[in-house]
Every structure is written in structure tokens, then in C-alpha cells.
Symmetry: C2
Subunit: 203 residues, 2 copies
Amino acid sequence: MNKDSYHHGDLKHALLVGACEMIATEGIQNMSLRKVARKIGVSHNAPYQHFADKEALLAAVAQEGFQRLTDELDTVIERTSTQSCVEQLKACGNTYIKFMMDNSAYLEVMFGPYPYEDYPELAEAGLESLQRLIAVVARGQASGEIKSLNPVEVAGTVWMSLHGLSTILRNGKLPPQLVSERTPTQLASDFLDVIYEGILVQA
Amino acid sequence: MNKDSYHHGDLKHALLVGACEMIATEGIQNMSLRKVARKIGVSHNAPYQHFADKEALLAAVAQEGFQRLTDELDTVIERTSTQSCVEQLKACGNTYIKFMMDNSAYLEVMFGPYPYEDYPELAEAGLESLQRLIAVVARGQASGEIKSLNPVEVAGTVWMSLHGLSTILRNGKLPPQLVSERTPTQLASDFLDVIYEGILVQA
DNA sequence: ACCTGAACACCGTTCAAGT
DNA sequence: ACCTGAACACCGTTCAAGT
């Protein structure tokens, strides 16, 4: 019954979900194709019907991660559409961090070493997410809230900072004195404030 | 001769160097204990004499990375001691990025999932590096160049941004339009400028 | 103390084959 | 088209043993 359904075309989806769960619970180092296949109840070669190799499956998970992140960014941008662009940008940052904390499997994979040349859909999905930030920045520049630098450069700065903070938060590599009683969300929001405001006097 | 020397106590060092080289050339996913041992010319169990398991060896590489980074930061801070603290902070950022581009093995490992609780020397080495940034920030605050926020928070912001940029640069995950003809060093310096100056109008 | 060899339970991937 | 089973060359790790 369940097994038969794979013959109907959702083994690919089952593999993505299974890989995701395994990465989340055991870490990417302990995720194996064979274990995923076993969990799904399929032979250890079945995955090769849908993915060229292990890397291709991981790249597909990464792509899915970007797509889900894009969706969440769209939602939060929509929900904050009455607020200022700066508020929107902050909301995007918080959403990004929350997404990565809630979906650590994606975090482990989204910026991994899966060359964009080999996985063009992954590249597109990644740029699509970043594009959401760029759009908010551009609107903030039009409304005079954000400095008139290259919007891609500004969004890119936020983008890379968010990624750095996510991984450092996730792997517990922050100095204990900094974490103290703040939640990841609060930490992220505080860090991002520093970036928005700048660190130099008389900026 | 060479083999005998391992009996004299430098197998541990040879393992660190070998692991580093292998990560740099083949990536961390393709690094194996057995291959490292083979390259060094020792049995596949010899590593266990010096490291509890593969993770412990990787954590040791990470620790070494932080120590070398700390040394490079010390050097550049010393060399720029006549300049302003802001110039020093920028020089630290450039040094950090250059270090990670030149030593991608360390980059792949330094913020990896090796729990600080299990590897206290790694934790210490990591905080030691960050401490260098904190010191520069604190001096910049004393001289009135840098805003009087919590210096750890400010240095932490730079720290996480540098990490995010390194990994994104290294894995080629930057939008092509951004990279264009800029070198990694230029990119880093430009991105960091945005962070120093802030992105909001009237910061 | 430092290293080796055999053994175990696992991998990713390929190939021929089954429906 | 979609899946399986056997086979290959690898892993990390443990254990008993060698000097």
C-alpha cells in the first residue's frame, strides 16, 4: 500500500523529507543514503532513480530550503506591508533566523559546497531568496530610509551576516557572555541593529 | 628514518598537517582518517593513539586554525599600531578573509559542530581570536571612533559577518552581479564598510 | 608507549536483472 | 518506468597482539 505509492511517483518527495529529518536529528555527517532508504522502506538503490548521487539529493534539499525561506519572507513582507521598510527588513532578519533555528537541516545544507554550476535550480532558488531582501532595501532607499548605496551590496551585507549568525548560533560558537539570557531571536535582532545603525561614530 | 621519527613523537603533528592538506585539496566530505594515515605512511589505527576519534582530530585542526588566526591578527594589529582603531579593525577584517581564503581547510572546520563542552581548548582558542577584535573595538571606543555600545556585541557583529562572508565567498554562493571583477579581498572590504557605516540614513 | 593486523558493521556506487 | 540484489572498494572503530 504505502510501498506501492512510491511506484506512483512520490518516492522523490519521501527521499527529500527523509533526508531532511535525518539531517535534523543526526546531523549531516551522520546522514546516509542507505539509512534514508531503509527508513522509507525501499532498497538502498532506489534513490538513484531520482538523484544522480548523494550530493544531488543534498543539493535538492538545499533548494527546497531556499524555496521555503522565500515563502516565509514573502509572508512576513506581506504581513508588515503597512510598516516602514526598515521594520520590514528587521522582520525579514528575524524570520530568517527563526527559520534556520527551526529547520537546522536546511541550515546545514543551504550554503554547502554544491556548485551552482552543477545545480542551476539551486542557484536560482538561492538568488530568489536574496532577491526578497534586495526588494525591501530598494524600497527603503526610494522612501529615504536606507542609504543610497548599491541595493544588492546592502542586501548582500545583511544576507551574509544572517548566514554567519545562524551557523554560529546553531553550533553554539558564541562567547557565553554574549548569549546570557537572550534567546536566539533576541540575539539576532540585537546584532542586526548594530548592522543597521553602523558601528562608527558619526556614520 | 622518516617512519621512525613518528616513534619520537611527531605523528600527532603529522596527522594535523595531513588532515589539513586533505581537507584543503579534497574537501572535508572526502577526508578520511584512513587516507590520512596512508599518506603519512602509518597504519590506519595509529591516529587513535593521539586522537579519540575522527571528530577529535577535526576539532584539533579547528583549534590550530584559531591559534594561527590569532597570530595573524596580532601581527596585523601590531603592524597598524600607528593607525586609527578603525583602520586597525578594517585591517583585521581583511586579514581574516585572506586567512580563510588561503586556508580553506580551517574555514571548513573552525565553526564546525564540535561542541565547546567536549573540546575546551577549542573553545578557548576561538574566544582568544575574538578577543583580538574586542580589544580593537574597545580602544576605538576609548578614542571616540567607535560607538559606545557593548564592545563584545560590536566585535561579535563583525565576527559573525566575517564568518558568513568567508563561507559564502568560499562556496561561491554570492550573486554573480556582486562578484563581477572584484577580488575576494575587495569584496570583503566593501562589505565590511557597509557594516562599519551602517545601512540606515541618519544613523 | 607506540604501532600493527584482523575483524565488524557500515558506506556510496555500479551493474545486471526483475516486473 | 521503477525497483531489487549481489558485488566492489571503501569507511570508522574495536580488540588482541606485537616491539
